[in-house]
Symmetry: C2
Subunit: 156 residues, 2 copies
């Protein structure tokens, strides 16, 4: 899974910069990293071919789109063997944007994004309760997101 490729500092610097902002031109990024734009291009192509880099994504402000409520849900299963079937059911609920199988208290851990509290209540109460295999859930509503950022893959 974690294929160790020959990545040098330049590769990591490119990734670090472009994880933050992918709209920079190769020429400009090259200037910042003291190589030519052509070298940036070659490196990115190599990273794409290796499967390390998988395109770019638009960064949209969900709050401004009306999605004000983020919550985390700890899920207790009746039996841990039900993980796959519960995961499939949860994937059908579009408000659930992430699901992890975890150690610790909960069997699984979900993140949900909703327009408002009443939509959250609907998903929690009407949709999750209907899924066979879920024993109970605990919900943690985010009152404030202090920060979100990328992991630091290279020293500055």
């Amino acid at each position: 899974m974690a294929v160790k490729l020959n990545l040098d500092k330049l590769d990591l610097q490119i990734i670090q910069h472009m994880m933050e902002n992918a709209e920079v031109s190769y020429a400009d990024l090259g200037k910042k990293l003291y190589v030519s734009g052509g070298t940036i291009h070659v490196r990115i192509k190599k990273l794409e071919e290796a499967g390390i880099v998988k395109g770019t994504r638009l960064n949209a402000d969900l709050k401004m789109l009306g999605y004000d409520v983020i919550a985390f849900i700890g899920i207790y299963l009746k039996e841990s063997s039900l993980y796959d079937s519960v995961a499939r059911e949860l994937q059908k609920i579009p408000e659930i944007v992430r699901l992890n199988y975890t150690t610790g208290n909960y069997s699984m851990f979900a993140e949900i994004v909703c327009k408002d509290i009443s939509q959250l209540r609907y998903v929690l109460h009407d949709q999750l309760q209907k899924i066979k295999g879920i024993e109970r859930t605990e919900t943690f509503i985010s009152l404030e997101e202090s920060f979100v950022r990328n992991v630091k893959v290279v020293g500055s």
Copy 2:
């Protein structure tokens, strides 16, 4: 915060598509949505000016970069008034990539990305314990990420 702007279905469709893949050309996206490339351009410019769209980000595979361990940390504070000072300390730890102030059991909820378990143990044991104001923590290590996706902002 959640400024309700006049966004029509086309705006949302553009956002939906480009949150998934921002590398599509305006001409191609226009073809898919039955408008010209020029219209896509105008809409994106409008969304950027409104602050709804904030550029694009490179999508890099953290596992392939050697960051194999994702974990969630529920944090109990001694007093909730310590939130800001603890948040500032947590922000100094580069492995902590997200922090939310939450309702429920925990005062705050963090996400951490590490290269391996020993690095995770180091952060949890040596760094978090030193922060004044943290009473105790509960860690949930992700054994598998079932899915991560964007919220659905428009009906297909």
